[in-house]
Point group: C2
Chain length 430, copies 2
């Protein structure tokens, strides 16, 4: 007992300071668990003058990040600066010098995972990224290791806390998106620019990582079909509830006939589904495997301490490998080029809300249009009368391509005033 | 690529045959993930004559288990026979010969974990047991590794599927325990003798394992306070629902002032708690950590394929260690002797149902008795009149010792006809 392992921290924001605090607070437990003293030896920050409430001596801070990566006392590099550059160059430099790297940078992995894993493979350095998806929830390691003997069919998750908070408020209070977003801003649950969250970019990055691991394929963020939540309305929640559903922003990755389909979009999900009761800013990942059946992992998907816990878990793992002279399995996943199934070729059930004329023959015209496009109707009901007449419809499973051309045709129908809303539906049978 | 790693299977029942099938079905994926061909080289069974639907050549079966453990072609021993002997001797023999062992035998670990871990430590052989708790749900590895940098406060779980099925039926159908047990028997959800499930022995074994890992202490099954579900009534569910609770059999382990308190008992849990909606024969483990907050892991806690998945995950892990010449962290936990907090010294809220006389002054007498024993009342309501009069009470947190002496005193009160029921309550504030 007693070997020291020096850490170089790249970035000291919310996650970085949480990591520093956990390493200090839990030093004894960590020492017991990995047989080494883990010590921060150098911290790269942009602004040296800024006051920071972290248990790290001032003289360890530098604004020369390259110096941290090449410091001979630094044996593990922890990248928690975020963004693509200089995170990419620094991570590559660390890996190519043989230093294991821990990162919580989902954007980097979702965009350049292939390059980073290749470098880790070449140099033999461990590369771990538990904190990149779903914050403190252990999901990357369980997928890579505990389920190593499993064939995963589908992974489906609520992996963005901000949008889940907004949708929970809309569901509970009956308010519109803008109001719920304003509340999320007031409570500090959004970034200054909320686009990455509400338009699904953040979730798409995480889905690409989950898909890469589950299906051992190099799926990048750009491979993920993406729709945000800005067009979800209070009325959608009303009809969802009437139909027995909750509305959630889901990230979904599945293997269909040897291809990976990955997407992020709002969806109706049965109230009885475990994901339906994941509320507020919580995250949850639902995994379906051939042998294991359905598993769910839930918890805090963001925030300094939870994500810091994930990063420290990875540090302890890599430190154990260093002390035992072994190597982790950092490069599982990402081995094959991904064969992506285009969104058009996926299938789903759909909810659709039509503002229609209230006169005989309208339903017949609408139903015929569905039939013409090969989309079969599961249920339909009329809401309101006269100018307020609406059809609320749910389809059986249909091909996305067919559904999209159906939408176009419905918009052209003279009896349809407006296609007011449509949303994919996760059914009980799936 | 291409190294072969021979497996010796001890037992070929429900879990053993699932393991054999998964290893055969997913051979390619497993080869990709651990860089070795994993092949069953020998299978020990009691009855050689029995027909078995497993993809293993007949001539690999033997009824001499010792031969499997010492076979030079067997590099990993997989113990899925269950029970204490000969599982214990065989596991010790394997470990002492330096062979890594995977087991799904909760009874063995809960009783003799200390001895087994000591032998693994001495010989340097890996020892893994993901399948021993909560079947296919990855929980042991996440606790040991992903949360290695975390201080866990409490772990609380629904870790017995049979009792959760029974309680779910009682909750949904309003039926009594005996009826629900009969239904579970009819559906094959019980052992021939259901005692281990319904009296909480199975859950207590699992709690002792979870407690050992979370608190790095050698907690054995006998250290776990245990109450089963045979005295839970349909009426308890009625009152629970009225109070906003569900009734679940919980396994709980927590660290309080440096001591480990571990227990299994039925409890009322708020309907809004994630564990309240874990239904049927599902399992779930709820973990509370200082930094990570609340995490939940849920899924199929038993059955051949889910447990088989956990066992195969461990096999792949240990095979990777063999091919890379490294070693796992099989012995984390179990390092310190446990300092157990006696049940009397734990505290909880309680629900209590009293059959009382319906006359003035009764509540005053009852309330005074609570006060005399240092138990503070949170809520009370009277149900029914005359001969049917009852008091439904919920207490604030109180010491178990005080509550038990209160129960004794209430039974002696002349105005109390019967203490009809009492149950611990997990409150929202916890």
């Amino acid at each position: 007992m007693g070997e020291e392992i020096g850490i170089g921290l790249l970035g000291c924001g919310i996650v970085g300071s949480a990591v520093a605090r956990i390493l200090a607070d839990d030093a004894d437990e960590i020492m017991e668990r990995c047989g080494a003293h883990i010590t921060i030896r150098r911290v790269a920050v942009r602004n040296l003058a800024k006051e920071r409430d972290v248990p790290v001596p001032r003289d360890l801070f530098t604004n020369d990040a390259a110096e941290v990566v090449s410091d001979p006392n630094v044996r593990i590099v922890v990248e928690v600066m975020g963004g693509i550059e200089p995170a990419r160059s620094l991570t590559l430099a660390a890996l190519s010098s043989g230093r294991p790297v821990v990162t919580a940078n989902k954007e980097l992995i979702a965009t350049l995972g292939k390059e980073l894993f290749a470098e880790a493979e070449r140099s033999g350095a461990d590369f771990a990224f538990e904190g990149a998806v779903a914050g403190g929830i252990p999901i990357i390691k369980p997928l890579k290791e505990s389920l190593a003997g499993e064939r995963i069919r589908r992974v489906m998750g609520i992996i963005n806390g901000t949008t889940n908070f907004i949708l929970t408020r809309m569901s509970q209070e009956g308010i519109e998106f803008d109001q719920a977003l304003a509340e999320a801003k007031r409570l500090g649950y959004t970034e200054l620019d909320p686009t990455a969250d509400i338009e699904g970019f953040d979730a798409a990055a995480k889905v690409s990582i989950l898909a890469s691991i589950c299906f051992d394929s190099r799926v990048v963020a750009g491979d993920v079909y993406r729709e945000g939540i800005t067009r979800v309305t209070a009325r959608d929640f009303t009809f969802a509830r009437a139909l027995g559903y909750e509305v959630k922003l889901l990230g979904i990755a599945e293997a269909v006939d040897g291809r990976v389909a990955a997407r992020v979009h709002p969806a109706m999900i049965p109230l009885s589904h475990p994901l339906a009761s994941v509320r507020d800013n919580l995250n949850a990942v639902f995994v379906e495997g051939v042998h294991v059946g359905q598993l769910m992992f839930s918890g805090q998907g963001a925030g300094g301490p939870p994500t810091g816990t994930a990063v420290v878990g990875d540090i302890v793992d890599l430190a154990r490998n260093l002390t035992s002279g072994s190597r982790g399995v950092g490069c599982t996943g990402y081995r094959q080029d991904a064969r992506i199934r285009h969104m058009d070729e996926t299938s789903s059930s759909y909810y659709i809300l039509l503002e229609v004329d209230d006169r005989p023959g309208v339903l017949a015209r609408v139903a015929q249009t569905f039939a013409d496009h090969g989309v079969s109707i599961n249920s339909v009901w009329q809401e309101g009368f006269g100018d307020e007449a609406r059809l609320v419809m749910v389809t059986h499973r249909a091909l996305e391509r067919n559904f999209q051309s159906l939408l176009g045709a419905l918009r052209g129908l003279e009896v349809v005033e407006e296609v007011a809303s449509s949303m994919r539906v996760i059914t009980d049978e799936e």
